[in-house]
Amino acid sequence: MTNTQTIQFPASTLEKVHEIIKRYPEGKQKSALLPILHLAQAEWKWCSPEVMDYVASLLSIKPIEVYEVASFYTMFHLEPVGNHVIEYCRTGPCCLMGGVEVYDHLKSKLGIETGETTADGKFTIKEVECLAACGWGPVFQIREKYYMNLTTQKVDEIIEELSK
């Protein structure tokens, strides 16, 4: 995973990459950067420098153009993460809906703080800003899935399910 030679999308993903690049006019392939970073993160869990270099080569842009973008947007992990990255919303409305208590429970259940990964590498907790689900809060997301109307009991169930 640290060796550049081993970093290569599987054929089906490469096909998807080429399909995405065709969405923009010729010469504007840099527009595919965010969508492809998402594909890369789905493949390798985080955006290592090697992964970002690979993305740059796919788009014929300089590596710095990928680094400066990946580091601007909060969804891209620039450090290794666990199998399940739990991103909970810490903004006002979710707090009104009881978020603080639920998130404290989540942290004590996993025995880690925000930004940390469990020793077994299964879970990482990150706090994020508003996820646009305020009326259904408290809410966290794990990859593309939203978990809404969270309670301490629901958190227990979700963690148990994902620990299997």
Binding site: R23, P25, K28, K30, S31, A32, L33, L34, P35, L37, H38, L59, I61, E65, E68, V69, F72, Y73, T74, M75, F76, R90, T91, G92, P93, C95, L96, M97, V128, E129, C130, L131, A132, A133, C134, G135, W136, G137, Q141, E144, K145, Y146
Partner: protein, 446 residues
């Protein structure tokens, strides 16, 4: 009166067949076969529809600014980067009824003469992007997208673009930068996107809800749309409700109903959760001024406050607020205003792109000062310091994020200064678990 969500709970409405059985895509048939692009624009102008993303700028007028030089492509970009705290209406609409947006995209793209359009959606909503992409494929299979749509000679390709998690990309020029594969740093204006937008080509950027409303306007006419609502607040608005009401969620209402009805009627929010009292409301997303109960329900003239652009802003920022994006956050007497303001201050600090010094530095200072007040380490001069920092950000940045960061802090102090003072003067009491300030004689005090 519902025009966007009338069929939203129909089983299977996310599929094109059920959507069409419920009248879907009639606007595409009508616009492409019976109307010229200019006629569609004219109806949107007549409707008085105002941008639903928060700014409230007349949509037809925005369209009319679009430059149309020969041989240069034009673009329509849908702003689905919904990130304003308290706002989740576009999320709801796209997730439940994706074709409502796609139909509006086709009609609007046709009016603007765009042959390629993009829906820029916040990256966190990737599951919704999948729903939209499936719906786009369905529309393509039925000849509603692609080449020569319904034999009209009009071509349109529609793509969904994922963002990467950045509130600032809801600002239209930052969105365009992001769509070009760059950091979301807002551009200086002019030139406006209508002249130089995506890849320096003329571009219109509109919110999901605004675009979705154009189908109904095509079907029924702009004049009919303008009959809904009140005064210059025409049509219906999706309001996302969170906080301490019995029924949080998304409601479509005709502009002009009273705020009191909206909060207390069973048809809408159903009142404050049992045994509690209304303390304050943030009516239009985190950036608009918070109002205490008495000012959100009535203006200082004693008139009922209405859910409309004009009525909510009655009194200016001294005693009024804004409709904004329709993110309606309701707080009862258990709410600590200082804590809530801190979460908003922290939000803007996190989301500042860092381009302009007043915003980059100022949001950091406000976050820091709010944090120490909340944690019992506030100083006497801190309240005035916050007001001063907010003033120095406001109006001094390239994009409106600076204002959006300054307003909630300034308003919280304007209306709840005694609560901030209580935190500073009684740090032990204020930091005790579950402790909340009670104002003597206030309607919300226990």
């Amino acid at each position: 009166m519902k025009i966007l969500t009338e069929h939203i709970d129909v089983q299977g409405i996310e599929t094109i067949d059920v959507f069409r059985k419920n009248g879907g895509y009639a606007a595409v048939e009508k616009a492409l076969k019976k109307m010229t692009p200019d006629e569609v624009t004219e109806e949107v102008k007549k409707s008085g529809l105002r941008g639903r993303g928060g700014a409230g700028f007349p949509m037809g007028m925005k369209w009319s600014f679009l430059a149309k030089p020969e041989g240069v492509p034009r673009y329509l970009v849908c702003n689905a980067d919904e990130s304003e705290p308290g706002t989740f209406k576009d999320h709801y609409l796209m997730m439940k009824s994706p074709h409502t947006l796609i139909e509006g995209m086709i009609v609007s793209s046709y009016a603007l003469g765009a042959n390629t359009s993009y829906i820029y959606i916040r990256g966190e909503l990737m599951y919704v992007a999948t729903i939209l992409e499936k719906a786009i494929q369905e529309a393509k299979d039925k000849g509603l997208l692609g080449k020569n749509i319904l034999g009209s000679g009009y071509d349109l390709e529609l793509y969904v673009q994922l963002g990467g998690g950045a509130y600032i990309c809801g600002e239209e020029t930052a969105l365009l930068e992001s769509l070009e594969g760059k950091r979301g740093n807002p551009r200086n204006k002019p030139p406006f996107p209508a002249v130089k937008g995506l890849w320096q080509c003329p571009t219109v950027v509109n919110n999901v809800e605004s675009i979705a409303a154009t189908s109904w306007i095509v079907n029924n006419g702009g004049d009919e749309y303008a009959k809904i609502g009140i005064g210059r607040s025409t049509g219906t608005k999706l309001i996302s409700v969170s906080g301490h009401v019995r029924k949080p969620g998304v409601y479509e209402l005709p502009l002009g109903i009273t705020v009191e009805d909206f909060i207390y009627a069973d048809e809408w929010c159903g009142g404050i959760r049992d045994g509690h009292k209304l303390k304050a409301v943030v009516a239009g997303g985190s950036s608009v001024p918070i109002l205490p109960a008495e000012l959100i329900l009535k203006t200082t003239n004693g008139e009922n406050r209405l859910m409309s652009y004009e009525s909510l802003s009655d009194g200016g920022f001294a005693t009024g607020t804004m409709l904004g994006s329709g993110g309606f956050v309701v707080m009862d007497e258990t709410t600590c205003i200082v804590h809530n303001t801190l979460t908003f201050g922290r939000f803007y600090h996190h989301e500042s792109c860092g381009q302009c010094s007043p915003c980059r530095e100022g949001t950091g200072w406000m976050d820091k000062v709010l944090h120490r007040i909340e944690h019992g380490k506030g100083r006497q001069e801190d309240i005035d310091l916050l007001v001063d920092v907010a003033k120095k950000i406001e109006g001094n940045t390239i994009c409106p994020l600076g204002d959006a960061a300054a307003w909630p802090v300034a308003a919280a102090i304007r209306h709840f200064r005694d609560e901030f003072e209580w935190h500073i003067n009684h740090p032990e009491k204020a930091t005790a678990k579950g402790a909340v300030f009670m104002r003597e004689g206030a309607s919300w005090s226990l």
